[in-house]
């Protein structure tokens, strides 16, 4: 149980696909002008990631090594087509807002990367937990970016108008704003991890000295 919990937490913070591994960036910047779009994209992507990791982990002993990449692509593309058709049928407005980025989940490096480096080597349970962790890691960053961009760019916070239209900064809902907000997101997460490392180093030196003395 503990092992699964560690795997799950891994994707959320320590190996967050967007902030730490730096993969799958394209969709995360393009769709985050509104919270609904960010959340929809995150959920679609998590669905595809989960299904592909589980299926490939189940088939990992049957897939010949030399043609594994085409097989991965077919499995991923199948689920992407599935979610695309489902969204067009039931959430047509969201599908329109996500536009070309919905079929582009196929080439999202997060999925290919996790399938290649994780699911093709581990058991189904581990792959499923890893997919959920990575998916949630992806969703929270996407939601964070979209909340900031929507608040500053169009003055709307969780569906309510907070800032009146004259005080909004259109910059944030356009392309350059996406780059800036994301840069600040990574910088802040770096800042905390550097602080944590420093703290850990300080604690280590304090505890290490007496322990050494006792041993001698």
């Amino acid at each position: 149980m503990n092992k699964y919990w560690a795997l799950f937490k891994n994707g959320i913070m320590k190996e967050n696909p967007l902030l730490v591994l730096m993969i799958g960036l394209c969709s995360s910047l393009a769709v985050t002008t509104k919270l609904e779009n960010g959340l929809g994209m995150g959920l679609a992507m998590t669905f595809v990631l989960f299904m592909s990791e589980v299926i490939i982990s189940l088939l990992r002993k049957l897939i010949p090594d030399s043609i594994r990449i085409p097989i991965f692509i077919i499995v991923i593309a199948t689920f992407v087509t599935l979610i695309e058709l489902l969204m067009k049928a039931y959430l047509s407005e969201l599908a329109k807002a996500l536009g070309v980025f919905l079929p582009l989940i196929v080439v999202n490096c997060i999925i290919m990367g996790r399938v290649e480096s994780f699911a093709s080597k581990r058991t189904v349970g581990e792959a499923a937990v890893d997919a959920l962790g990575m998916g949630i890691g992806y969703i929270w960053v996407l939601c964070g970016i979209s909340i900031i961009r929507e608040l500053l760019g169009s003055g709307i916070f969780l569906g309510m108008r907070v800032l009146s239209e004259e005080y909004t900064i259109g910059f944030f809902s356009r392309a350059p704003g996406g780059f800036f907000v994301f840069a600040i997101f990574i910088a802040v997460s770096r800042f905390f991890s550097i602080m944590a490392e420093k703290k850990a180093a300080a604690v280590n030196t304090v505890t290490a000295l007496p322990a050494e003395g006792v041993q001698k």
Binding site: A30, V106, C109, P176, I186
Partner: protein, 192 residues
Amino acid sequence: MNEYLKIFLSSMLIDNVVLIQFLALCPFIGMTTDVQKANGMGIATSFVMVLSTVVTYPLYNFILLPLGLEFLQTLTFILVIASLVQLVEFYLKKSAPALYSSMGVYLALITTNCAILAVTLNCISKSYSFTESIVYSLGTAGGFLLSMILMAGIRDRIRLAKIPAFVKGTPVLFIAAGLLSMAFAGFAGLIK
């Protein structure tokens, strides 16, 4: 003629594939550590981009559309791109080993370059004609190459600058990309 020029300029500058549409950010961040690398990646990608548009456009209009298989477009296109990359790799390995050894590393990575799939899908969704599609893919490829080289040049300067530890590395690259993107947003009034 005017129409083609319009498509070319708007796909290259106004709707720049990296800086305005946020496509192909992975090579934009990962492959711009020096100008030569950026150049190699840019040219290899441009080549595959134009080639895959040439292949997928007739494939969609003459095979998928008459058979009513439009829903397979994502799956077909990504397979076409993956096999084209493989073919180009084989061809270069045999006929131009020198070029292959300088481009080889990037070629394999191109399959998962989202700009290529996006261009092929956009040509269909914007219902361009065949020539228009080719002009569009040429323009997008030019825009990609341009932004790669610009970024590689900026990175040379960033390396010499004094930057706080937590902004060093990727965050500062995104800030630079944001500034570049602002500059490209200035092209918006170029074509009415």
